[in-house]
């Protein structure tokens, strides 16, 4: 099993979810995050005090998938999340040792 973690533009969440669904990924967990990278942030001004904000809002999607699905899933995310402009985000993949579905106690790929 692998854990895929993708950081994408927030308004792409729905597209990514659908694309993943089509590859057979059944569940995922989403977090609102702030990203720092090449994409530039913005300036805020409050009564003459200027703040430059380097962080931009991003959405992090985590999905645990069986090894067999990993490549397809990555492909699906990249296609769905891409706009071609800076800040589209990243996909990171790491290995999972173990997974359990709390309700049933099922483990391994069964649990996903």
């Amino acid at each position: 099993m692998k854990l895929i973690m993708a950081v994408v533009k927030p308004f792409k969440l729905e597209d990514v979810r659908q694309a993943l669904g089509e590859t057979g990924v059944q569940g995922l967990t989403v977090t609102e995050v702030k990203g720092f990278g090449r994409q530039k942030g913005h300036t805020e001004l409050y009564r003459g005090a200027e703040y430059s904000v380097d962080f931009v809002p991003k959405t992090k999607i985590e999905a645990a998938v069986p090894d067999a699905l990993v490549d397809q899933a990555i492909e699906a995310i990249v296609t769905a999340a891409s706009t071609g402009s800076i800040g589209d985000g990243k996909v990171f993949v790491s290995s999972l040792d173990h997974a359990v579905r709390i309700r049933t106690g099922e483990t391994g790929d069964q649990a996903l």
Binding site: F11, H42, T43, E44, L45, Y46
Partner: protein, 435 residues
């Protein structure tokens, strides 16, 4: 047949052709009454309260968080801009000496002649003028709801400046300033046509000219803070007492009845919308309830000095029904994007109220009574004339103004800016930094 004994009625010369007896024209026999003045000072504060903070909260809660400040900023800036324009020349255009029933002259420009001692009816003319100003403030602010989340702030300022000059001031003059509609006997106690139909129609035109928000209607555009929308609705209701009962320009029996019918119509409209939604959708929503309340407030506005409690109940219920249909059914069917339903609530509610005023003013239906010689049918005809004249004039001129501005400076932010949100893009600010 008893005729309406409203002080305002007498002063406005409704039903007579004494178009010269308009407010703002101080005459020798005018004597200040401290009670009337006390009420009108209060009513002025109440109507300002409707716009800032009332309407700006009502609207800010309905847009997405990234645009919350932008609508508040628009309401607030409109308040300031209209105030200055009013003092400079708009008051005079609306309430200066009548020119051919169409518009006022410049005799009151720069508030000239509006001194400390000048009394209009039983109140200082300063108070009359500022009270009327608060109407000229809220009308453009209402339009903001139609083009929310996509219009450039600069274009908005230009549009409102031109609009209040060419559209609002003349129409206010037609109805209240000694102009042709008032002269014909069209009844609009507190601004059903001048304020609500006017704002609603301008909003509809703006929504169409600017086009839909990106992603509408596919993308979820959830209201960011309905808690604040509820607060704004409450403030609108409270402030509306100043709007309607204040339009009597005195603290008397007509003002009292105006307050009573305002309360009753609003409640009836709110419950109507709530039960319609409950029935159709399966659950009643808070936004539905308060939308109905605003619909009722709008519809009773033209009628408030003329009808009785049971007439108000019917007007409220009718308005709740018609606005519900307009907002929940018709808008989605037609597919235009009136972001916060300026037309669906203010335009439709104003029309319902204006027409039904012609019915329930009849003494046999509990109203103040029709003018000598008028019948319900003739009065409804007159009311319809007022409605149609407002729709056509406002619609056409607003359309031209917007098209010209679009060509010259552009009305809309670009797609990327719209995505990021107007607060950051236009104002370098964020509404909420709660964490």
């Amino acid at each position: 047949m008893k005729f309406n004994i409203s002080k305002k009625g007498l002063r406005l010369g409704i039903g007579s052709l004494l178009a010269s007896a308009v407010p703002g024209i101080a005459s020798a026999q005018d004597v200040l009454d401290s009670g009337d003045t006390a009420w009108m000072l209060t009513a002025t504060a109440l109507v300002l309260f409707m716009t800032i903070p009332g309407l700006s909260l009502f609207y800010a809660g309905m847009v997405r968080a990234k645009n919350a400040l932008s609508v508040m900023m628009q309401c607030f800036a409109i308040t300031c801009l209209m105030t200055v324009l009013w003092a400079l020349y708009v008051y005079s255009l609306a309430f200066g000496n009548d020119i051919g029933g169409l518009v006022g002259d410049f005799s009151k420009a720069f508030m000239s002649g509006v001194g400390v001692d000048v009394v209009s009816g039983t109140i200082p003319e300063t108070v009359f003028s500022i009270f009327q100003l608060t109407f000229a403030v809220i009308t453009p602010a209402l339009i903001v709801g139609a083009f929310a989340e996509r219009m450039k702030f600069s274009a908005m300022l230009w549009f409102m400046t031109l609009w209040v000059t060419i559209v609002y001031a003349p129409i206010a003059h037609w109805v209240w300033g000694g102009g042709w509609l008032g002269g014909l006997g069209v009844l609009d106690f507190a601004g059903g046509t001048v304020v609500h139909i006017n704002a609603g129609v301008a909003g509809l035109v703006a929504a169409i000219v600017l086009g839909k928000r990106r992603g509408y209607p596919r993308t979820a555009m959830k209201p960011s803070n309905l808690v604040l929308t509820m607060v704004g609705a409450g403030m609108l209701w409270v402030g509306w007492f100043g709007f309607n009962a204040g339009s009597e320009l005195a603290a008397d029996g007509v003002a009292g009845m105006a307050m009573a019918v305002t309360q009753i119509a609003t409640a009836a409209a709110a419950l109507t919308w709530m039960f319609l939604e409950w029935f159709n959708h399966g659950k009643p929503s808070a936004l539905g309830l308060v939308s109905g309340a605003v619909a009722g407030l709008v519809a009773i506005t033209p009628a408030s000095g003329f009808v009785g409690p049971m007439g108000a109940l019917v007007i409220g219920a009718a308005s709740g029904l018609m606005c519900y249909l307009a907002v929940v059914k018709v808008k989605h069917a037609l597919g235009y994007d009136d972001s916060l339903d300026a037309f669906g609530v203010h335009g439709i509610g104003g029309i319902v109220g204006a027409i039904l005023t012609g019915v329930f003013v009849d003494a046999s239906l509990g109203g103040a009574g029709l003018a000598e010689g008028a019948t319900i049918v003739s009065q409804v005809g007159l009311q319809a004339l007022g409605v149609v004249a407002t729709i056509i004039y406002c619609g056409v001129v607003s359309f031209i103004l917007l098209k010209v501005l679009d060509a010259v400076i552009g009305l809309r932010v670009n797609a990327e800016e719209e995505e990021e949100g107007l607060d950051l893009v236009l104002h370098d600010e964020q509404g909420y930094n709660l964490t």
